[in-house]
């Protein structure tokens, strides 16, 4: 039997194996890893270069850059810059004001829409509505701005007058002069319409991940849809929905063009949401950029840095909330 005789030869000698990738793979992995770091590099560069450009202004103004509300460049007789003061507070107030109006109006509508899409709509109707709302999320902000200015403004002005008439005793609904056009209220409504599709999409995804067995357990106990949602869906999805709302807040705070078109950008602190004056940081940058001298450009860069850091923090919180509550549940 040749096979038996050659048995010793049939067993190969033990050999070394290694998990070390080949050279081609090492190169591949290196390239992909470098490419993967690009987001880190870009975000770092944004923070770095905006800080470098804004450094001079920030050094002079220090903390008053975000606490004072005076944005002035005074020129002397020869047109040279005599004195300049940069304080962002009024626009920061405006940014938060418009964004909070957007959240207060938009988030309830978006969450209820998401509930409708997840638990009421069926089949092709559901598919159609979902694509329509996703499409709306892809509309450019320019479109929302113009539509807000041309179409929404008339109705929104009327609603603002009603609010003022019946709730005018509450300080924020009071107005110093009866100018209701181009107010933070209307800008907030436009922003609300812009964030509704985003918040709806995220809430819908979160609601979709509710464990089916818990839903069915609730139904088996005789729960109505309302009590099922209150007992199962809301506790499960609360964090994720808050995260989605924060994402909407981030979008609303950074919005430029829509706010610029709808709002009457005036540099003053305006708490009275129905009065036609206000602004936000992004629209200030767009407004002032055209005629800004070198010094003012630096100040605008610093304003951009503040806006960047603000949206970064809001987005970070939203991301953490969505990921902790969205994937694992309670």
């Amino acid at each position: 039997m040749t096979l038996l005789e050659n048995r010793s030869a049939a067993i190969p000698a033990p050999r070394e194996i290694t998990t070390k990738p080949r050279l081609s793979d090492q190169i591949f992995r290196a390239i992909v890893t470098v490419g993967g770091m690009s987001s880190l590099v870009i975000l770092g560069l944004i923070a770095l270069f905006l800080s470098i450009k804004g450094f001079n202004v920030l050094k002079v103004e220090q903390l008053s850059f975000i606490t004072e509300s005076k944005w002035e460049v005074l020129q002397d007789a020869e047109g040279k810059i005599a004195e300049s003061t940069f304080g962002l507070a009024a626009m920061l107030v405006g940014t938060f004001l418009a964004a909070f109006i957007a959240i207060i109006v938009g988030v309830p509508i978006a969450v209820l829409s998401a509930l409708y899409l997840t638990f009421y709509a069926r089949g092709s109707v559901k598919k159609f509505l979902v694509s329509l709302i996703d499409l709306m999320a892809a509309f450019p902000s320019l479109l929302f701005g113009f539509w807000g200015f041309i179409v929404l403004m008339g109705s929104a002005e009327y609603w603002a007058k009603l609010l003022n008439k019946y709730l005018g005793f509450i300080p924020i609904f009071d107005v110093p002069a009866p100018i209701f056009e181009r107010s933070p209220f209307i800008a907030g409504l436009v922003l609300a319409i812009m964030i509704i599709p985003i918040v709806t999409a995220i809430s819908r995804e979160i609601f979709d991940q509710t464990p089916l067995d818990r839903i069915q357990a609730a139904y088996a106990l005789g729960a109505s849809k309302l009590s099922m949602i209150r007992a199962v869906v809301i506790p499960y999805g609360r964090g994720g929905v808050v995260g989605g709302a924060m994402l909407g807040l981030g979008r609303a705070m950074g919005e430029t063009v829509a706010v610029y078109t709808v709002l009457n950008v005036v540099y003053q602190i305006n708490w009275q949401v129905l009065f036609g004056a206000g602004g936000n940081v992004a629209s200030l940058i767009l407004l002032k950029f055209g005629e800004a001298g070198p010094d003012e450009v630096d100040a605008l860069m610093a304003a951009g840095l503040v806006l960047f850091l603000l949206t970064l923090v809001v987005n970070a919180i939203s991301d953490i909330l969505i990921n902790t509550f969205g994937k694992k549940g309670r």
């Binding site: 793979d25 490419g35 975000l43 905006l50 509309f139 929302f144 113009f146 539509w147 609603w159 949206t311």
Partner: protein, 349 residues
Amino acid sequence: MTQTTIPSPQTPWATSFQQRLNTAGLIALGAVLAGVAVKTTGLSGKLGFAVSFFFIASLLIFIQQLRLRDMAAAKDSLLSSFASLAIVLTLIPIISIVSTVVIRGYQGIHFGMFANDMTMASVNDPVTAGGLLHALVGTIIMVGVALLISFPIGLLTALYLTEIRGKLARPIKFLVQAMSGVPSIVAGLFILSILVIPVTQELTGLMGSLALSILMIPTIARTAEEMLLLIPNDLREAGVALGATQWRTVSGVVVPAARSGLVTAVILGIARIIGETAPILLVSGGADALNFNPASGPMGSLPFYIWKAFLTGGTEEAYARAWGGMLILLILIISLFSLARYLSGRKVA
């Protein structure tokens, strides 16, 4: 043999035709009562009607449920009323926006607009003068260059997250998410601060492309990552089992299998940036003449064309021009979006 009859399937829990009819009747009654309320009380106008209609109709359904069943069912009906209201409130702006653009934009469309630029016309001239050729060309060039920059970076990021899955995968994912939240105007300011002011001193189409890339990379990276995750692990294991290196597996198996998904990522990236206005206004200059060279001279674009006609004009012609441009932009976005839907709807590989 006894004849056994198999009962046809029943769905006793489903809403019956009678119940639907009752609800429809109550809603109609609500509309009538709301009309009466508008006529007789202080409520007036469309808003008054809409508000009273909603409250009266949901109250009627609430009472009916309470009468026929119990408090729990009545409360449940309130939730469905409010959810329906919410979806209607979400849909109203979409319908209003699309119809406004179509109706107003229709007047601003003529065939000459695809053959002319705005060098010989001002925004206030009749809409038949001039056109948006320069804007269309500028947008295509800027988006194209942005795509050339963003696609490799976005794909590499997605590959890092799905194929390498290194220690940094979680933080990178977080950073990509954070990057997608960068306000568009900050992207413009960044390009100004890093390139335009210290280096080139010139506003060009290329600067516009770079600013747009910052907004495009996260969209491409996130969509591509989702698409690569859909590729079954069996394919990767099969590639490796055949003795292929990771590089050969990814380039020969994984990426080709995800091809249509990657095309979807590209299309969604384009749809994300094609209407971006703020960075374009800051860094691309904005021209009225045709410019094929992204590296020198200002470049026009659709958003800039619309912006200029809308803000510097003020006449009916200028508005018609702006809405015409908007209609073209919206058609582009809707076709890109539908294409992406169609491609991602097909089965992967």
